[in-house]
């Protein structure tokens, strides 16, 4: 057995070694055949299953985005009919949010890494983990089928009474697909919470956990509390459509604004489900590629929890002009300011970590740094939107579209890409070409900004959302945005190509190609079936990048006493 460090002895700082290890058994070659994948309980294989499915939906959603941006190069609605356009942006939103963004990092990276990072053999409930994937796949199939029969045209927000009484599209089918997939989310969150509470290796106290784990814990709390509410909302929506009961339709005694309350009560916390895991990834990347502990570890950890909690109290900031009382609007606006603060804390802490670090310019770090910059812009424009006086003007315009794409694409997807690039060697045991990975990162970064920055301006100029045709004076900025989208699309193709290429032709990776510190780097690439040859015992904190690791003659840093919790 080569290429993994010994412990519990304080290991010498591992150097990245790029020689091919001798063949050994690991989770990928342990068993072959379709059944061994479709009936696996191994969290690592389930993560791969998710990787394939979320990539499929990302491709679908991305294809729709291409057509949308193509249509928007001209002011007239001349590429597709209005009806088709409306279905395109609706399905784009649904696929991207429910079937890509929400599962991506937790179900791919979280599933793979959380047990390893805490020193466990698997998640607490491996069979439920597999069930989660099947539920996701079935929900996805429903929605995919609905797409093939034309898709829905209500907007991903499904506002009533439009969605209950004014559209002939398969709303119930799509809603059912989302309903089913929601349970996948709930079960994943449940699994993570129990695992993190109960399956930590000896010595792995809460404050020695990697911040990736903290972020996923906070995400899981949101998943289990919020997702059931969208489930009920969907049921009510379906019931109104099928049985004609007047919950939301005012003609039958219902209240359309009630739908918005129900919907946003989940959908706002949902955006934190989408961003918190990416923040967790960024914490890991910053630590590894500056070789320093994340500055203000405790503050970053608690900030994750704060975001999860506060995120449940701000939903009506999506409804400032929807006829709610001015006092309610004021309360939600103030609370929305509060929820911005923990995110700011994280950004400042990450930036401070860079100071006097040993900064590598490897691709994962490029994505992490890109995240910090773009998330800052996206987040601050969020503060602008939370400001009541401004929101009256820019609500439901492209300003909002730009804001959330900065967070979701410039933030969450960059975090996902950074994570994939960082842990790819661990997951597949292969290295990808460095040069092309940097080209990919740069292309994505540039393409992204050219696509979405003009949209801030468009929004302030007054261009509303979800417009198929628009006044002439908005064309220049739209063309710019579409040009950027082309570059962005190409940018995503590049990693797709070299990742697949690397699985066949890539160099073999050592246990620790980045020279990073963390339990996942103390085992082979790819890891054995039960993650470690020996169950680890942890006697050090997270991110202990210390000189003594490079020169063992130096004394190690002072440790906190291992508590028996």
């Amino acid at each position: 057995m080569t290429a993994h460090s010994d412990f519990p002895a304080h290991s010498a700082f591992p150097e990245p070694i790029e020689e091919a290890p001798e063949p050994y058994e690991h989770y990928l070659n342990h068993k072959y055949g379709l059944a061994s994948w479709l009936l696996t309980r191994d969290h690592k294989r389930i993560a791969i299953l998710y990787l394939i499915s979320v990539s499929f939906f990302f491709l679908l959603g991305g294809a729709m985005a291409v057509i949308i941006r193509l249509e928007l190069t001209t002011p007239e609605g001349d590429l597709v009919q209005a009806d088709i356009y409306n279905r395109l942006f609706t399905m784009h939103g649904i696929m991207m949010i429910f079937f890509f963004l929400i599962p991506s990092i937790p179900s791919v990276l979280g599933n793979f890494l959380i047990p390893i990072m805490i020193g466990a053999k698997d998640l607490a409930f491996p069979k439920i983990n597999l069930l989660s994937w099947y539920i996701y796949a079935i929900g996805g199939l429903f929605t995919f089928y609905a797409l093939l029969t034309g898709g829905v045209d209500t907007g991903w927000t499904f506002y009533a009474p439009l969605s209950t009484g004014y559209t002939n599209t398969p709303v119930v089918l799509v809603a059912l697909g989302i309903f089913i997939t929601g349970f996948s989310s709930i079960l994943t969150g449940l699994n993570f919470i129990v695992t993190i509470h109960r399956m930590r290796a000896p010595g792995m106290t809460w404050f020695r956990l990697p911040l990736f784990v903290w972020s996923h814990y906070a995400t899981s709390v949101i998943m289990i509390l919020g997702t059931p509410v969208i489930a009920i909302t969907i049921l009510l929506l379906g019931a109104e459509r099928i049985f004609g009961v007047g919950i939301f339709d005012p003609k039958l005694g219902g209240d359309p604004v009630l739908f918005q309350h129900f919907f946003w009560f989940y959908s706002h916390p949902a955006v934190y489900i989408m961003i918190l895991p990416a923040m967790g990834v960024v914490s890991e990347l910053i630590a590894a590629f500056t070789r320093k502990p994340v500055f203000g570890y405790h503050f970053v950890a608690f900030a994750s929890i704060a975001i999860a909690v506060l995120g449940f109290f701000v939903w009506a900031h999506h409804m400032f002009v929807a006829g709610i009382s001015v006092y309610a609007a004021a309360i939600f606006s103030a609370l929305s300011m509060l929820v911005a603060i923990p995110s700011a804390v994280k950004v400042f802490n990450w930036t401070t970590t860079l100071y006097k670090g040993s900064i590598s310019w490897d691709t994962p770090m490029l994505y992490a740094l890109g995240f910090i910059g773009l998330f800052t812009i996206g987040g601050l424009t969020g503060v602008m939107l939370a400001t009541l006086g401004i929101d009256i003007h820019v609500h439901d315009t492209y300003f909002v579209v730009a804001h959330f794409h900065y967070i979701m694409v410039g933030g969450a997807i960059m975090g996902y890409m950074g994570g994939l690039h960082y842990w790819w060697p661990k997951i597949t045991g292969k290295l990808y070409p460095k040069f092309w990975s940097k080209v990919g990162a740069l292309t994505i970064f540039l393409g992204f900004n050219v696509t979405f920055f003009p949209q801030f301006i468009l929004g302030y100029l007054g261009m509303p959302r979800r417009y198929h045709a628009y006044p002439n004076e908005f064309q220049v900025l739209n063309v710019m945005s579409s040009a950027g989208a082309t570059v962005l699309g190409l940018g995503y193709l590049i990693p797709a190509v070299y990742f697949i290429w690397s699985m066949r032709y890539g160099k073999d990776a050592s246990a620790n190609p980045w020279g990073a510190i963390g339990l996942e780097w103390e085992t082979t690439s790819p890891p054995p079936v039960e993650n470690f040859d020996k169950p680890p015992v942890v006697t050090w904190g997270a991110y202990e990048y210390h000189e003594s690791r490079v020169q063992p003659s130096l004394p190690p840093p002072k440790q906190e006493v291992m508590r028996v919790t």
């Binding site: 700082f13 409306n86 001015v326 103030a334 400001t387 009541l388 490079v550």
Partner: protein, 346 residues
């Protein structure tokens, strides 16, 4: 749509604005934008600087170890600082929002009905237009919005104003235009297939020109108030809502803005939404001391007709010397049903 006065065909970065409040909102926006740009630039500059300054020089180099090294002072600074700034913006934004929600007393009342996919607008004089809103300069204009079908949103970029038009209730939007010209009107809440064509224009004219325009070719019916009175009689409202002692229903004069006491102890301030609800859903809010005998008019009146009734009711002044029918009176009389709404006018 032909370009009109006030459109800026080459899309500069700063959109036109036509009211004081729009200027205030712009000021708030550009201030917050400045703060956003400042912090974003700061972070970006720091990142680039650190990236270069502390670039890794050897494969085994580590950073300068700072275990848990965060000073409470630093963390407090960047918690309190941004919080103060954010709450400052909140306060400023809330002030504007509250002002936007409170039309001045002298604002002229217009009515807007959104419907897939057009805007139907009614002037105080009763004149109607579709997808166009002519307003006089320098006069506060208050719009009462509702929808006939789904949720729409009435958006005037030049005023920096929008409010959703929601079926089943009324919402308000007001502005005071101080610049002449023709500007965009958009629907800003996705409402179906032709959402992007539910657009129009707002045309700000000199007051004298506006008067001339209003008195001109009569595109609407008779003045809203007058037709409301006809409806009031045609639908037999007057048989119960009357000023003499045979009234079985509450007095409607001076109703708008009055505090109404309901059965069950609640009170409500009578506004347009309350009146509309009383017409289409009378059983839900019965006035204290009265029987729940009013039949519903749901399905029998269009949104325009409801608006005309509301305008008529709003115009009723408190008659002098006549007391509203006291609570107990209705119960003393022998049982008598109200006339069915299908009965003709007397």
């Amino acid at each position: 749509m032909p370009p009109a006065q006030g459109f800026l065909p080459n899309a500069p970065l700063f959109p036109p604005r036509a009211s004081e409040m729009a200027r205030e909102i712009d000021l708030l926006f550009f201030t917050t934008l400045g703060v956003t740009v400042f912090f974003s630039t700061l972070i970006a500059v720091l990142i680039f600087y650190f990236m270069v300054r502390y670039r890794r020089t050897s494969p085994t180099q580590v950073g300068v170890y700072q275990k848990g090294g965060s000073t409470g002072l630093l963390e407090s600074t960047w918690i309190i600082g941004p919080l103060v700034i954010a709450l400052g913006f909140f306060a400023w934004g809330a002030r504007i929002f509250f002002a936007a929600a409170r039309p001045p007393a002298d604002a002229k009342q217009y009515y807007v009905i959104g419907k897939r996919w057009m805007w139907k607008i009614e002037h105080p004089s009763g004149r109607r237009e579709i997808n166009e809103l002519h307003v006089p300069r320098g006069q506060a204009v208050k719009l009462k919005l509702t929808s006939e079908d789904v949720v729409h949103s009435f958006f005037l970029p030049v005023m920096r104003m929008k409010t959703d038009a929601i079926p089943g209730r009324y919402t308000t939007l007001w502005f005071n235009a101080d610049t002449l010209g023709t500007f965009h009107l958009f629907c800003a809440e996705y409402c179906g297939t032709e959402h992007s064509r539910m657009v129009g224009r707002i045309i700000v004219m000199e007051p004298t020109e506006y008067e001339r325009w209003i008195g001109g070719e009569n595109m609407g019916g008779p003045s809203g108030v007058a037709s409301g009175e006809d409806l009031f009689v045609a639908k037999a409202c007057h048989t119960c809502h009357r000023t003499d002692s045979t009234a079985r229903a509450p007095q409607l004069s001076g109703l708008i803005g009055k505090t109404v006491h309901l059965e069950g102890g609640q009170t409500v301030t009578a506004d347009e939404t309350y009146i509309r609800e009383s017409i289409v859903n009378p059983a839900t809010k019965v006035v204290a001391g009265y029987q729940p005998i009013m039949p519903t008019y749901r399905g029998q009146l269009s949104e325009e007709e409801i608006i005309q009734l509301i305008r008529y009711v709003g115009s009723l002044k408190q008659p002098t010397g006549v007391e509203p029918a006291p609570a107990g009176k209705a119960a003393d009389r022998p049982a008598e049903s109200p006339p069915s709404p299908n009965e003709g006018a007397r």
